[in-house]
Amino acid sequence: MSKPLILDPRTKFSVVLIIGFLIFGSSVTQLLFLFVVMGIYGFLNGVRKSLPIYVLFLLLYFLSDYLASETRNILFVSIAFFSYFIVCFLPALLAGEVLVRTPAGQLMSALGRWHFPKTMIIAFAVSLRFIPIAGLEIRSIHEVMKQRGVAFFSRTGWLHPWRTFEYALVPLMIRLLKISDELTASAVTRGVEAPIRRTSVHVIKFRSCDYVVILLVLALAFFLLMTR
């Protein structure tokens, strides 16, 4: 397979924003068109493994929509209703996945270029780091709970769900407090409060493909808005 396209993170941000606005008020045909365009955009940017899942959701919608109109069964109608909402967001999700796959350092560099305040950039970096850490902590806590016979799906878990909830929550809170404390200490002793504009080791710049992508997306937006 060919190498993924290298785009400036700022281009990716813009694509997410424009597509995010476009999906509102679009008809189903327009959404489908958007989906195809975003599918190609995602494919070019290295979103390949998860592409079939998006297509699967689309098929689920068409199937349930067809069945709903044929049988008028409440079950199919409700599935069609919910899958319609998911389909609405599919193009934006694709654009979002491209953005999320960008290394954190480049994203921070892009935010810096846009003159975002330092506090927001650091908060952004920390929250990116925090989510996987919190996941690991929760898993470890539940493993200990399993061993001590107070896990969610043990006898105690069924009989006293609130107590189990407390057992999970207390150590989690204490751990997260401690981690945020240590992260702050590590940041402060490395000059995070310096009143100087942040630079980045990652040099990002607009290349010709960035201009092409932005122009195409703007043209698409114009075309879709005109045909509404």
């Binding site: 200990v144 061993q147 240590e182 992260l183 000059g191 310096a194 009143p195 630079t199 980045s200």
Partner: protein, 491 residues
Amino acid sequence: MIQLKNIDVHSRQGTPILNDFSLSVASGELVVLSGPSGSGKSTIIRLINGLAYMDDALVIEGKAELNGQSIKSMNSWERSEQVGSVFQDPRSQFFAPIVEDELAFYCENFGMKPKIIKERIHQAAKEQNLLPLLDHRIMTLSSGEKQKVAIAAIRVARQTVYVLDEPSSNLNLAATTQLADLIRKWKEAGHTIVIAEHRLHYLTDLLDRMIYVRNGQAVRSYSRDKLIILPAEQLAASGLRQTRLVWKTGINRRSVPQNIHELSIHQLTINSWSGGEALLHNLTFSIHSGEVVMLTGSNGIGKTSLARALCGLSRKSEGTVTVDGRLALRRKRSRQIRYVMQEADFQLFGQSVWDELFVGIKEDADQVTRAQQLLRELDLWSLRDRHPSTLSGGEKQRVTLAAALMSTVPVIILDEPTSGLDWRSLEKTAECLKREAEKDRIFLVITHDYELISQAGTRLIHLKDRIVTDDFPLDDTSGARVLSLLTQDES
């Protein structure tokens, strides 16, 4: 250089932390602060790097100066240009997922040009032998490598004063030796260094002065020559760890095999997460009650994976585990084999220490006597009404041990029970292991800690290259062999 004069620190509630503490460190000097847990060592470190002044819960009086300038009046970024800080747990210090981005953090904050940032990263990474790891994900590195990244991430600033807070507590012996080499280099370059540390052995030959801190006061100051001749008994009485790694002799390690319980592992293979080659291959050994078996080996060799497989938390294993001659099925193994993890904070659920012992256990008369006895033996009785999160690291680790001992499981696996502990906690833990083993328990202890092996071990199992390479009973003459095994580990 560093001047602390008549410092008084207490919390807003009035608990004293430092009491009329004075310390002056000359330029180019290496000072080690040691003493029992909770003596105020960390607070001294946090005074020098200024973190204590940002803590609203502390009231600080007295004069603290760095190069003649009041630390309190400096801005946090001005302090960070002069003082580099290394913390205990490198896991929670990182902002970036990639090593290179992490090293760039300081330079980026000071708005340096990308070209200069690259130069500084290259230099700091070269000093720590991190050049081949620059594009690696930090999560995948070993503890030793993570500590190197943390140190390189402050070295890019090229400060001349360094403060380190228990830098060795998550490191094995090989990584600790590398840390000692680095500190020697810094000292030769004329940097001023203050280290708060329990493990003294790797610093004995490097330090200029060791300050013994207790109850928030500098009780005594030892020069290198004086420290070396301090007898082991006096160190132990002060709650200090060994200045030279000495094997403990003259204790009875020959456990009387009572054969009440037996843990047998037959042809056990531990598969790796990624599904590639197995971590450990065809392990076969058995342990009887009365034994305290020390399990050693490099970081990432699969000791923790083995523990997780033994207690049934992980499915990534093949082979059989039997307890008392009966096959232990994975789902039921947690009733027979208990695994106490290294991180104590995960494992404390109760509202008080007393409450903690009865999580998942009925509070009947027998268990109450048992709990009272355990708390007294582990020196926790006076803390029984405290909330576990308010305890010190050593106390927390002893509470997790006590909680495991409350259950009736025959096999207990401990993961690094003495990392970051002072001598007193280490001794208490060792005594408790020996006493409980003599009753009817089987202990398998994952550790890098020579001092713990020396105090409590009866047998050592060493893992290398996916198999057990050494398995021998410990006696008065095993010291040299244990030390050579530990130093051969990869950092």
